[in-house]
Amino acid sequence: MTIAGGCRCGAVRYTLAIDALPPTYACHCHQCQRWSGSAFSQQAIVPEAAIAVTGPVAVYEKVTEDRTSTQRVCGTCHARIYNVNTRRPGLAVVRAGTLDRSEELECVAHIFTASKQRWLALPEGVPQWPQAPPAEALAALLGAKRPR
């Protein structure tokens, strides 16, 4: 079984070679607000090798001090599909709103909540960090929910 997704206009489609919808987390940092144009980015972490993409992909690179983030977006409608980061080789961060079954997604953690938009109330009991989470803690949360 695979999980499928795609961009807004349908020109780019992808599959994830995983058995169930992945758990997701929300990042509320300013950068993620800008890139989504919304309140947060919602992402799932999968092995890069598990993604198969078809269609016209455009690439944007963001270079900062210690890393290069490579963003893959639809070349037609510019919906963001996934990114990889030189600090996390082999892992891809999928923009979870592009999954075909996004209406069923769960969100298991919220990070960078210090910059969260104030109107948005987060569900009680879901782990959250004001800044970056300890990598192991987030990985444990994302791993613990898999497979459903």
Binding site: R8, S38, S102, A121
Partner: protein
Amino acid sequence: MTIAGGCQCGAVRYSLQGGPYPVYACHCRECQKQSASAFALSMPVPVQAFAIEGTLDEYCRPASGGRSTDGFFCPACGTRLFHRSSASGAFVTVKAGTLDDASNIQVRAHLWVSRKQPWVTLDPEVPAFDTQPEDMSAWRERLMEDAP
């Protein structure tokens, strides 16, 4: 009062005169894909109050009745900044997450909550539509008039 915003890389900047302007969230599948997140945040602004600096690229999406919706984004970093519909040329719809400071935006309505991701909690005081108002243009105009 001037409100400013822009894309991720800083190549495109915009400013809004007046305001604050109301914001609504749309939870439809298309908005989840376009934002790659759980919902889109739209802030309608009169065109005469909106000024942009920098070069934009455009994605034109055909809509019903021979109309179109144009999405404008930064060609350097791909950030989607605003939409304009041929049905209603009097305003642009700014992607509210691209504001320099979105921390205090007020979300006045939720559309397409029938597609909402289950974990997103809504304020029961804020109007919510299962789908969307029948006449979106008229509804948006009322929303702007009613804004405090």
